[in-house]
Symmetry: C2
Subunit: 264 residues, 2 copies
Amino acid sequence: MHTSCIIKHFENYSPLTERDRTLLASLEKSPRAYARNSVLWEQGEPSRHFYTVSKGWAYTYRNMHDGTRQVLDIYVPGDIVGLREFAFSHRITGLALLSDAELCAFPKTRLTDVFSQSLLLCNIFFMIAARDQAILLERLVNLGRRSAREKVAHFLVEIAERLKKTDVDTSGNLRLPLPQVLLADALGLSVVHINRTLKELKNDNLLLPTNGGVELLNIKALEEVAGFDPGYLEENIDDMLDHAREAQLRIDAAFTNADDNSEE
Amino acid sequence: MHTSCIIKHFENYSPLTERDRTLLASLEKSPRAYARNSVLWEQGEPSRHFYTVSKGWAYTYRNMHDGTRQVLDIYVPGDIVGLREFAFSHRITGLALLSDAELCAFPKTRLTDVFSQSLLLCNIFFMIAARDQAILLERLVNLGRRSAREKVAHFLVEIAERLKKTDVDTSGNLRLPLPQVLLADALGLSVVHINRTLKELKNDNLLLPTNGGVELLNIKALEEVAGFDPGYLEENIDDMLDHAREAQLRIDAAFTNADDNSEE
DNA sequence: CGCCGCGTTGAAGAAAATCAAAGCACGTGG
DNA sequence: CCACGTGCTTTGATTTTCTTCAACGCGGCG
């Protein structure tokens, strides 16, 4: 069976049964290609689907009344987009692409089906939601209490760290397709200031601004600059998942017993 | 049956069956009182429990290496604290109290049990997690792209809005127990600047800084100042919950059928 | 009384925004 | 192959916003 991107992502958390894998794969059935800079939706539109990212980079944003915007989150392959709109009938942020990309849509109600069929997947989804929150939290700390230099370093390092968990090779230099406007809008700074900050970091041989992106030259040193503590990306969940698997077994057993009895 | 705080909170989302109510009530069994300024935990400590807030105000924070801190979230009665640590073995933020308060601890694994026993509650928990994310998101926008004046107004108005959904009467003036240091650390500003901004808003008759708190005089006008759009607090979830209830019925039916058959 | 936590005020300085103008890479069409 | 436009980046000069430092006020409480 083809190991889809989302399955790989989930198997970071826990080994899956064949049933779980099939169930998950059903969320990544009809990948569709989109071009760089496509806008998949704008804030305010009805939100009936989640998306899984199988190729490329995306970001969510919020347009402000005064014409500025705030970029809220970056998505790389394996990520799930739109989970936070589970409770909302309309998009609370827009979604656009940083590169050519491939995404799969699936209806929100599908998620409830998955919950009802696999307690383990249900728990993993909850963990992903928790992790998403941890990332937002860290971004909040970043915006609230760090200097421009630290902000930039931290933001870049976090993304590099997240890429490590996917298929990407981060041993050499790592090129991130993040234009300077995006950094500005993500970090709440002006483009001009981002530019100057990048120049500074470039002079220190930490990175290299390329056209339409940034190349990281020394991730270790950048982590130093950022005061980066990867704790918020390192889930530790074995206890929880053991518990979930046991509960799943009990459920299955209950069903099987009932069935067995009924077939006697 | 005594209607606990968390049940009231959940019934904002959906009517509950008696079974669901019992299940939920089990999460609010042993309320314990804590004094103002108590620290319930520090970042880095092991995290084995969630807490439900039944009385009083709490907040999470992160201490920075340079001695500053970032306040991340405010909790009022009915809220659940620690959901975002579902995926983490250790606390990623500290928790402290703004007022005398009453909270109930329950082990994280208890949540998985609830998931396994009620699909509806599972969905509602997921919605609460989504809503928590939406709140963090809005706070991010606040820190990234708004002036000090807007930040303060938006922060205060959001909390007022959230209080409306609990038992609190927000028709008259509303006193929030938020000292100026807390506002500063929540909004990424200095205490001095918070002070000046509050003075400004006071001159405009929008609020009144009292000792250790802020009294809101004109919420409508404050919303104006903040450019407040309550969309991110207004879940619309009936479709989703209908779907969950139907799925729950199917599961129950399957069990009952199996049982019936086995008893024939 | 005297101390402590919190709020208030003024003056000076730093960080980042804004304004305005070029520069540079890349693709497109003549 | 070159001219041209467009999107992104770069730079300098100026202004704004917010911070820092330092001091003082003020109510509560042992």
